[in-house]
């Protein structure tokens, strides 16, 4: 009986505590009040020419092109700077539409459907590790998140310089190769080819000829397996098929890497040799 009395009291006390505290419910915040990332979807009447172009590209290709943002939108301790408007507009028209998305969808529809990132970030410069120092940034673009790709240096890319544009597009495919690597994994067999022979930080002390002799398509590929993978894709995207075949026949390691990567891409619907000639023709034969 005593215990029952005590328990009843306890329950009552507990209930009253909850009931009495639940009365405070008048605080109301409007739902749209906080936007931690400071990204807004602009209403249509505010759209400029680039917004309209980005919208068309989004509808046609499903890629959201991001050209304006805050310094730390991507990652809190990395700093990226938006491109100048005119340059971003010209770049989006020429590189994003004409040299990347249009030929990709037309020539490689399956690959386009499955392997195209959903966000593309345009950067005026490159990656900065410090918010305000004067050091010039590094890194051609960024990747590593398979839904998002980005390219840097748009403020300094001269769209009338065919060689520079060709190099830029090839590097875009290099960055995309990192996406593919992150998404599927290049595999242990690839890593075993050059295991133990990577140059690491010393890559820049090597010559390109030495790198080829050591089984890397570029000396930067000798830096680490992930760059080995991306530079192989880059090489196949940059040089004509015959030149690539001649080169790989000179070195067993190059040949094995070539075989693995062509298959990796072909399985997904991408013929890198065809991609090479499509890009080359678009830039040099138009």
């Amino acid at each position: 009986m005593k215990k029952l009395f005590i328990y009843t009291l306890l329950i009552l006390a507990g209930m009253s505590a909850f009931v009495s505290c639940s009365k405070e419910e008048k605080v109301s915040l409007e739902k749209e009040n906080l936007d931690y990332f400071a990204i807004t979807n602009k209403p249509k009447e505010k759209w400029n020419a680039l917004d309209s172009l980005c919208d068309t590209l989004y509808r046609d290709y499903g890629v959201k092109i991001v050209y304006e943002y805050t310094p730390q939108m991507i990652r809190p301790n990395d700093f990226y700077y938006p491109p100048a408007y005119d340059k971003a507009l010209a770049y989006t028209r020429k590189v994003m539409k004409t040299l990347w998305l249009e030929p990709l969808k037309k020539n490689f529809p399956d690959y386009f459907k499955k392997e195209t990132p959903i966000e593309f970030i345009l950067m005026g410069g490159f990656y900065h590790g410090h918010p305000t120092n004067t050091a010039i940034a590094a890194g051609a673009g960024f990747n590593g998140q398979f839904y998002r790709l980005g390219m840097g240096g748009i403020n300094n890319l001269d769209l009338s310089n065919k060689a520079a544009v060709h190099d830029h597009v090839v590097i875009l495919w290099h960055e995309h190769a990192h996406n593919q690597d992150v998404k599927y994994g290049r595999g242990e067999i690839f890593d075993r080819i050059s295991v133990g022979t990577y140059y690491k930080e010393a890559w820049n002390t090597k010559t390109e000829a030495q790198a080829v002799a050591d089984g890397f398509f570029r000396k930067y590929g000798g830096f680490a397996p992930e760059e080995d993978f991306a530079t192989t894709v880059e090489h196949l995207t940059r040089f004509p098929k015959n030149d690539v075949l001649t080169l790989i026949n000179s070195n067993e390691k190059l040949k094995r890497k070539y075989n693995l990567i062509t298959k990796f891409y072909l399985d997904k619907g991408m013929d890198l040799h065809k991609l090479q000639s499509v890009i080359y023709d678009l830039i040099y034969k138009n």
Binding site: N33, E68, Y81, G124, I136, G153
Partner: protein, 340 residues
């Protein structure tokens, strides 16, 4: 007895519970804040467009105490675009986007596209004290907008950088109009100036002090301009590359001028062509710019001159220059003449 103790114990516990909950009557100001923010956002949107000649942000260089560097911003509030002009360089097609956001710290003015503001963030502090291109909006009125760099710059330092009070561009600032008054890149501008001896008279408004300088123009970099442009700190750093590739020339100077035109010069600071302006901020890669400019800027107490008028009368050329303080008032006015 024990029971009474227990019961009274529980009763006091109950009392405590009620009493403690009573304290919960916190009068929250959240709704009020939201209201203030909404008002500020509306005000900002309206006010930005209400200065057809634009708003001015005065940026402070570590090289000058009183003179501040103007950045003129013209907002197109229908399309959220902003055009900027400044003394650092020329930008004929310059425009960029801006956004008004609500962030955790209130209303934010975000110069979201690449612009002079994001560019200055990557320069050293002699080019200005801008440390972010996102600004917290502190106050808005019809003739002033008070904003603060969201971050102070260095990683792990406190939030909140420089505070700027934007004001409407004064009508007397002819340099900021759309008309080009002097662009030394062009052959026409060089006539009567290049390799011609002249004199620059400066009046320091707060002290009424007058200074005469022997002054000339020399297009010595023309033959090798492309190579020099590679050391342009703005062009050199793609993140900051929002200006045209720079055009530079020497402004030979004689500090001991006695009031008439002379033919000797003591030093050769390097000027870069700004938007109707001459900019003397030093840049690495040119020894003369590093040492002579530092000396010149210190001596004349400003890193720039804007050009408000160019009068050509036959071969006689008069150029009216000025430099402004933090509030946009004339700190220095001056006149260059190539005749006595």
């Amino acid at each position: 007895m024990k029971n009474i103790l227990k019961i009274s114990g529980f009763l006091s516990l109950l009392l405590l519970l009620f009493a403690s909950c009573e304290k919960d009557n916190i009068t929250t100001t959240v709704e009020e804040l939201v209201g203030t923010e909404k008002q500020m956002e509306t005000d900002l949107k309206q006010v930005l467009g209400k200065s057809p000649n634009g708003w001015v942000m005065m940026v402070k260089s570590t090289l000058a105490d009183t003179a501040c560097i103007p950045v003129v911003m013209q907002f197109d509030t229908t399309k959220n675009m902003v055009k900027m002009k400044s003394v650092y360089g020329t930008t004929p097609n310059n425009k960029s986007t801006y956004l008004i956001n609500k962030g955790v710290s209130g209303i934010l003015l975000n110069f979201s596209g690449g612009s002079i503001v994001s560019s200055l963030m990557r320069m050293d502090r002699s080019y200005g004290d801008v440390t972010d291109y996102v600004f917290k909006v502190l106050a808005v009125s019809s003739d002033a907008i008070k904003i603060q760099c969201l971050k102070s710059g260095e990683a792990y330092k406190q939030e909140g950088g420089q505070v700027y009070t934007l004001f409407k561009r004064p009508d007397s600032w002819k340099w900021a109009d759309d008309v080009t008054l002097l662009d030394m890149k062009t052959a026409e501008a060089k006539v009567g100036l290049n390799n011609v001896n002249g004199i620059l008279t400066l009046n320091y408004i707060p002290t009424s002090k007058k200074v005469n300088l022997g002054f000339s123009f020399r297009n010595s970099f023309d033959s090798n301009l492309a190579a020099w442009q590679a050391v342009d700190p703005f062009y050199n750093n793609a993140s900051a590359n929002v200006f045209d590739k720079f055009y530079i020339f020497f402004n030979p100077v004689n500090y001991s001028n006695t009031g008439t035109i002379q033919t000797v010069y003591e030093d050769t600071p390097v000027a870069r062509q700004g938007y109707n302006a001459l900019c003397y901020l030093p840049f690495s890669g040119n020894a003369s710019s590093s040492t002579s400019n530092a000396k010149f800027v210190k001596s004349i107490k400003t890193p720039y001159f804007v050009i408000n008028e160019v009068i050509r009368n036959g071969t006689n050329v008069t150029i009216k220059v000025a430099s402004y303080d933090k509030t946009g008032k004339e700190y220095i006015t001056g006149e260059y003449k190539n005749f006595n």
